[in-house]
Amino acid sequence: MGKKFFAGIGLAVFFFGVCLMGGGNSTVYAARQVVVCNWGGNSATFEKECFYDPFEKETGIKVIMTSPPDVAKIKAQVDSGNIEWDVILTDLPAILSLTEEGKPYLEELDYSKLDPKILAQVIPEVKQKYSLGARIYSFNIAYSTKTFKPGTQPKTWADVWDVKKFPGVRSFNNPYGGIMPQYEVFLMADGVPPDKVYPIDVERAWNSLSKLKPHINKWYKSHAEAVQMLVNGETDIACTIGPRVIAEKWKGAAVDVEYNQGKLAADNWCIIKGSKNKEDAYKLINYIMDAKRQACLASQVPYGPSNREAVKYLDPKIADDLNTSPKNLLKQGWQNVKWWVEKGPDGKTNRARSIERFTEWLLK
């Protein structure tokens, strides 16, 4: 075999290696920019329209969108020091995964960098150490209006558990996609008043769910799956994200949401640990939290705005369908994040333990 042959192969491998190494971090950007990782899809289209495009125009800072906020990708970026994202829009379970064990993968938020006037308008429950509420989601009683005519739907979780009075199949989440078991819901169904749910009586919660188990048709892994099942009639009642169901209702599907006894939580703005554009990231978050801009998004994507002033800028009809309308907000309670991240004697958080227990419980 000729030397040239091996030289050729060696050269090829070398260049190949160079390409591999250069892929991530060697790009040099001239202009200022913020990379936002959101959930993509329909919501991202309107986020661009209501937030990112006007922000770019006003500040000259370019916003680059990417999706989805895959927890594993965030971990890989931080661990390898090859950080591509700045601002992340993600949900509570993801944030808990990223911050509860060992070193946090998100920046601790510096609230002094945000406008105090706007911060005062934001719902206090969503101002957290690593995250600031962007929009509010909620676990609600979602139902098919083909099965239940308006007014006859189950109005409490106890109703959902009452299979004689409200016949039909139910769907709840399984633990495989990271959605935590709905302890709060299971307890309310068992007669615990909404304001007495915490600290959670775990045994009572599982006993309560065991009673409903035979009537659950599908344990879904993702909310998209749950909403799809409601829309095509695979299920009559689902415990899933209310705003996602409202979005289908606005499109004309025969589904609706009962907000009573809902569990509120937030999709949040976070900054990835070691972000290269931290200052501009804060600027963008500040810009987005503005009431009018939040109203702009909520009129298209029916998640509740985290800025309480936003409702003022919305058509009352749209506002009535949102989980943070003053009327609906009163019917629901906030998920207590503190309880979920509390560690037991084994060093595991309640969240981690609940997911392990859920897996074992389902297999029984």
Partner: protein
């Protein structure tokens, strides 16, 4: 004729004299994108950060994981048998068709491979679901009153997976069956064997390499299946891939996820070695007897 003297011409000529060189690019590719990541993952499963076997221990200490390993094995076996049961007669028929017709039918077998698994899985929901075609037909014709539960259990899951895996089985079987000399069957019948006996004593043994190759292929791909079991399965159909996914995405425990992946890899290797010992390795590659 003048010899080509360009660098590449020379290289190719030299390479052609040593056919081994022709697989060097593949080896390089596999090394960079398969062997290296695999080794990294193996290291991840053993260090956290010091050398430890705790990830492997925690896998075997949790009942759910062992259960999942068993379910994965059962479902994969069920799917393999389902594919064989439907695929064998189909491939037999295909192998008797004239080439043109066989090609046309083979394209029909292949078309599902061009559609995403997700789409095919959702299609099964619209067919087998509560308001699906089958339940609607049965209800309208008065055969049943309440819809049958055809999905979100092992039944629906098996149907969905058999559909996805069928092309792999049919292609493995067909490639072997088409090479079987039909004169052997005629000879057997000439010597007084009934058509069934001729099939059982002559065709079936000759087609075994295809059966083995197809079964191993389907089984091994099924073991790692993810989308279809998650969407069509019930709460107890916890495939090992779902355990790994949960460890990667939800618990961020990559050490455990790597350990579980290696346990799965050893599990598959074990099955492969046992079946190889039992029937001979050359048969597993689909080599003719």
């Amino acid at each position: 004729m003048e010899k080509r003297t360009s660098l590449f011409g020379n290289l190719f000529e030299k390479a052609a004299r040593r056919p081994f060189c022709l697989i060097l690019p593949l080896i390089a590719y596999m090394f960079v994108f398969y062997v290296y990541p695999l080794l990294r993952m193996f290291a991840m499963s053993l260090f956290s950060p010091d050398l430890t076997s705790r990830h492997y221990q925690s896998f075997f200490q949790t009942a759910a994981n062992l259960y999942s390993l068993r379910v994965t094995f059962e479902i994969s076996l069920l799917v393999t048998m389902g594919c064989l049961l439907i695929g064998y007669p189909m491939s037999y028929y295909l192998s008797t068709c004239p080439a043109r017709k066989a090609n046309l039918l083979l394209i029909l077998v292949l078309i599902p491979l061009w559609t995403s698994v997700l789409v095919r899985t959702y299609a099964w929901i619209t067919i087998l679901g509560r308001n699906g075609i089958i339940n609607q037909l049965l209800q309208k014709s008065g055969i049943i009153e309440q819809p049958l539960k055809l999905i979100y259990n092992q039944f629906g899951l098996t149907i969905g997976m058999v559909h996805v895996m069928m092309p792999f089985m049919v292609l493995s079987l067909y490639s072997v069956m088409v090479g079987i000399d039909r004169n052997l069957l005629k000879a057997a019948q000439n010597l007084g064997a009934s058509p069934f006996r001729a099939f059982r004593k002559v065709f079936l043994p000759l087609s075994m390499p295809g059966v083995l190759a197809g079964s191993i292929l389907v089984f091994i791909i099924s073991v790692g299946f993810f989308v279809t079991p998650a969407l069509l399965g019930g709460p107890r159909d916890l495939m090992i891939s779902m355990v790994i996914d949960q460890a990667v995405e939800v618990m961020l425990n990559w050490g455990f996820a790597s350990a579980a992946s290696f346990i799965l890899l050893f599990f598959i290797l074990g099955i492969f070695l046992i079946s190889g010992k039992m029937v001979g390795f050359d048969k597993l590659w689909g080599k003719k007897i």
